[in-house]
Amino acid sequence: MSENTIRDVFLEEAREILRHLEADLIQLEDGDDPELINRIFRYVHTIKGSSGIAGFDVVYEFTHKLETLLDMVRNGKIPVEKKLVDLLLESMDWIATGIYEEPDFDRMEALLDRTGKYHAAGGGAVSASEEEDAPAKNGPSEDKNFFFLVRASFRPMVFQSGIDPLIIMEDLTALGSVEQKRVNLKRLPELEELDPERCYLDWTVLLKTKHPRSKLDDVFIFVKDDNDITVEDITAEFVDDEKYNTMLQERKLGEILLKRGIITEEELDDVLSSQDESNRKLGDLIVEKGYADEKSIKYALGEQSRIKSRIQTTTVRVDTRKLDSLLNLLGEIVISQSSISRISEELEEQHGFRLKNALYAMDRITREFQEQIMAIRMIPIGPTFEQFRRFVRDAAADMKKEIRLDIRGAETELDKTVIEQISDPLKHMLRNAIDHGIEPPDEREKAGKKRTGTVTLNAYHQEGNIYIEIIDDGQGIDRAAIKRKGLERGLIKPGDELTDKQIHDLLFLPGFSTAENVGELSGRGVGMDVVKTNIEALRGSVEIFSEERRGSTIRIKLPLTLAIIEGMLVRVGTNVYIIPLLSIVESLQPARDHVKTVEGKGEVMLVRGEYVPLVRLYEHFGIKSDVTNPWESLVVVVESGSDRLGIMIDDLVGQQQIVIKSLENYITQSRALSGAAILGDGKVALIIDVHGMVGDLAR
């Protein structure tokens, strides 16, 4: 239904009213009957209300003034005389024309002039526009925050007027964010005395909002008169930091109690004067005098300390090395813990059990502890991404390309060390995307793409890992060209059936570059192999996805934590190695006929219908083991990316949290080791780098 229908209803209604009005006005000439005047007033009043709704604004304005006049007649301020009735009749005619034909403004002015004279005579000069003051600016302000301290104490019978204070408080809090709030229970009686039809609560809310005060007043419009509602603008206290701080410093307990309406000024004065004599604590005195209960005092004390802590600033700058050493110390705790855990194994049952339980509890705490330290080290990747904007702009200009950098997931948090170490690889990959990925504008146009190419940097968390993606909407990777190059360099053999992934992996081999002309930007020797090594050093991995003509995505996967991991301890002879739990798929004892030797690929074993390379750990590291036949040993199947590997060991020892200690380069050349850990018994165990081991085998 439309407004036209309302208009139609109004036209019909007005016709009826005007007919009655005319009859009544003529009757008025014969004598003033109060009931008659009332009726006339109501007719005009109704036309006024309806005309406003139906959109007859001029008629509305006019009837509004006429109504004021009639109100004075009704109150006996203006006598009923022929002149008045004439005016009213003429006004009625004008209303009829105004509604059914066109408003005659000249006549309206003349009539209003006469009405105005009566107004003056009646003593109340009322201008029609008075009521409709321009509405206060209600929209939220762009950037300024206001702070309002709102105290709302509702009268007990508030429910009886159909008002639910909770709805009002919800409306209030919907205007911004609640910085502090308190529900005062002081008026709440014991349960047996509680009358469910009464309201006992008051609220104190510190609201941070972009709306001006008028908007808050709107919320309380129906209750502000007969309930105790105060809205105090304390924005200045928050905006002017210096002033705020001094003010806060000086804010004593008494002031807080006063400000929160817990005690009155007189009560405070009283307590302060007796404090001078007794030199006792203010809070105790207030409770003693019965001005407030202990709960309120506690609340105020809490606030006081909150205020204090705000003064003492909420952040500290810490040298990251201190965090590192904190993490190292935690690592030591984890190690000690596992050595105590070992002792608990040796104890007789009763004590051992109790010790183990205590250790479980401690384990929970250390894990939490670790998470907290890690959280401190986490910083958003945004700034790192942002710093590439200039680089992309300049690089694109150099290459005569039009490129836009799109940043997503800037808020994703990464370990500080990771961010520092990921920056260079990212730059390299961006360079690749600009150089090899995005086509020159003309070429893009020909291919039906926008002239401006887009390179996207994206970061997100997923399943305990962090992913960083470099996405371009360029031409995609020319797999044929890579294959050619691979053949040229003897990296692959003619006739090798290669999957897309295997072709992409060629890009990570040292010194591999497909740029036809070695560009300014890419192909400077440090290739994708360096990128890959850097990422693997962070125990991450990197993968390439590409679609011809649509673009490429390089996805880096990084672990959330660096220093402490869940590890599986495995034994080979007298040596213990650690395999990161996240890499392990399963452990099994292979059947004798499932282990085979394949020409050129070495030993493989059948795992769930698929052959995976088998690594005899004792052979790989040149150590002694108890068993040399795979079918008598255990094999841990691990996974790195899409590569699987069976690691042959003697036995599983157990699973525990381990702290990674890095190995200096001179200790090992093997990529199969990523570090070492100190075990509970003080022995050192080497950590197997599954990704590196796969890499080692590929060589």
């Binding site: 429910f159 007027s161 129906f222």
Partner: protein
Amino acid sequence: MKNILAVDDSPTIRTSVEYALKGLGHNVVQAENGKDALDKFNDLKEKGESLAMCIVDVNMPVMDGITFVKEFRKLDKFTPVVILTTESGNSKIEEGKSAGASGWIVKPFAPGELVKIVEKLVR
């Protein structure tokens, strides 16, 4: 869908209330004056339906809005009642509130204003 009573002697006002609140998915029951409204309220009760809110004009023949609010409050303590007034800031608001009204709306009102006020009182 909630029942809302629109009480005004002007069909224009009643209809506009109905249109404005239809958008919120409410069912608007129209009544011409206070007495008619009390009858309609009783009708609803007999049908076992509840009333979510009343919107009542002050100036009406037969039974005016203030009297209606007083009478209505004898039957129902907690349902919000909003009075329609053209005399903003006038004693009518006070009179209405002391009779038990929850709030007021100044005529003429934009549909959006009415919707805002109804949302403020009915959840």
